[in-house]
């Protein structure tokens, strides 16, 4: 099975890693693979989403096609849309 490409929309907390890009594309059959692919292109970005124990950070949420995903093994299909959201506090 060939690996698909997903669209990743990034919250502002990650824009410094992507040189300002708010939407990027990455290959991967699982969330973990997509984060690895993103990290190759944008070094350091994975560590902002995933901690040393390979768990999603508790102030970051990842949504796949609008649904909350909490496991790096979450399977992805070609064309899936990811949202990486960080908590905001401003008012």
């Amino acid at each position: 099975m060939s690996t698909g490409t997903v669209e990743v929309r990034l919250a502002a907390l990650l824009h410094s890693y992507t040189r300002g890009a708010r939407v990027v594309h990455a290959p991967g059959a699982t969330l973990g693979e997509v984060f690895d692919a993103l990290d190759e292109r944008y070094p350091g970005i994975r560590f902002r989403i995933v901690d040393e124990q390979d768990r999603m950070r508790r102030h970051v949420r990842v949504f796949v096609n609008g649904a909350d995903a909490r496991d790096l093994a979450t399977p992805l299909a070609d064309g899936d849309k990811l949202y990486i959201v960080g908590a905001l506090s401003g008012g």
Binding site: A12, V60, R61, F63, S89, G90, G91
Partner: protein
């Protein structure tokens, strides 16, 4: 509930009363409602304007701060002449001019673990327009323990988030900690003072928050509970994402680590002050 309106009230609220979803019954619900707004800032000021104009009978305003010149780019009820005045007093003056029928209760104080439960308990619904994570987590916990619905918005730069939390009603309603169990490390998220915020977007979100508060009071439409609304002003894009209740949530989960505002995990969330101005 008193459903009698004066002639002046019937005129003032005519565009509400004519809506089948509101009517006289709904307008009476708004008049009887008590809403607590945390922060008279970028979100809080448009929120207060619309709730006051809508005829919400009692509006509590919590803010310890005074009006600064750098607030005026977005905090629309404060005027240049109000610089230096307490924000809650400036808000009271503005609301009195918009709608003298509304009772405004000014709480010139920070929300603290000592006063949060008592403050929240005096109101029916709470709206969070605060500017720091410590207050957001404290309010989340206090509203859960006091069994109050919380309508929370947050903004930074050109991005905004909005949701309604009522975890006290049980599953499937999530709380803020189901989405973000703990605040981020302080250095990882800048404040509005450090990173900036688009003034008009604060207005968009404050008005949107007012809409959700009014819906909750009236019990009309679809609640934002279980949905996280994201607004990207640069892309003019809105997303509505599904958020779920976590069985392992530290607050509303099966075996919560936070059982009171004094719990160590709760206290750790309130310790950090991130953002001012």
């Amino acid at each position: 509930m008193n459903r009698d309106f004066t002639e002046a009230e019937l005129h003032r609220y005519a565009r509400h009363i004519i809506l089948p979803e509101i009517g006289g019954e709904g307008q009476a619900k708004l008049r009887a409602a008590k809403v607590l707004v945390i922060g008279a800032g970028g979100l809080g000021t448009p929120l207060l304007q619309y709730l006051g104009a809508a005829g919400v009978g009692t509006l509590g305003v919590v803010d310890h701060d005074t009006v600064a010149l750098s607030n005026l780019q977005r905090q629309v009820i404060h005027r240049t002449a109000d610089v230096g005045a307490a924000k809650v007093e400036s808000a009271r003056r503005a609301l009195g001019e918009i709608n003298p029928e509304v009772r405004v209760v000014a709480h010139q104080a920070r929300l603290t673990p000592e006063n949060a439960l008592a403050l929240v308990s005096d109101y029916d619904i709470v709206a969070d327009g605060s500017d720091n994570f410590a207050t957001r987590y404290l309010l989340t916990d206090a509203c859960y323990f006091a069994q109050k619905t919380l309508v929370a918005a947050a903004i930074l730069r050109f991005e905004a988030q909005l949701s309604t939390y009522k975890p006290h009603l049980g599953p499937p309603h999530p709380c803020y900690r189901c989405v973000f169990p703990e605040p981020p490390p302080p250095e990882s998220v800048p404040s509005c003072a450090q990173a900036g915020v688009l003034g008009a977007m604060a207005g968009t979100m404050g008005a949107w928050q007012a809409t959700e508060v009014v819906k909750e009071i009236l019990g009309v439409g679809e609640s934002l509970s279980g949905k996280l609304l994201l607004y990207d002003a640069l892309d003019a894009r809105v997303e509505r994402l599904a958020i779920t209740r976590r069985p392992d949530c530290p607050l509303c989960g099966a075996q919560p680590a936070i059982t009171s505002l004094d719990s160590p995990l709760a206290q750790a969330s309130y310790a950090e002050v991130y953002c001012g101005d």
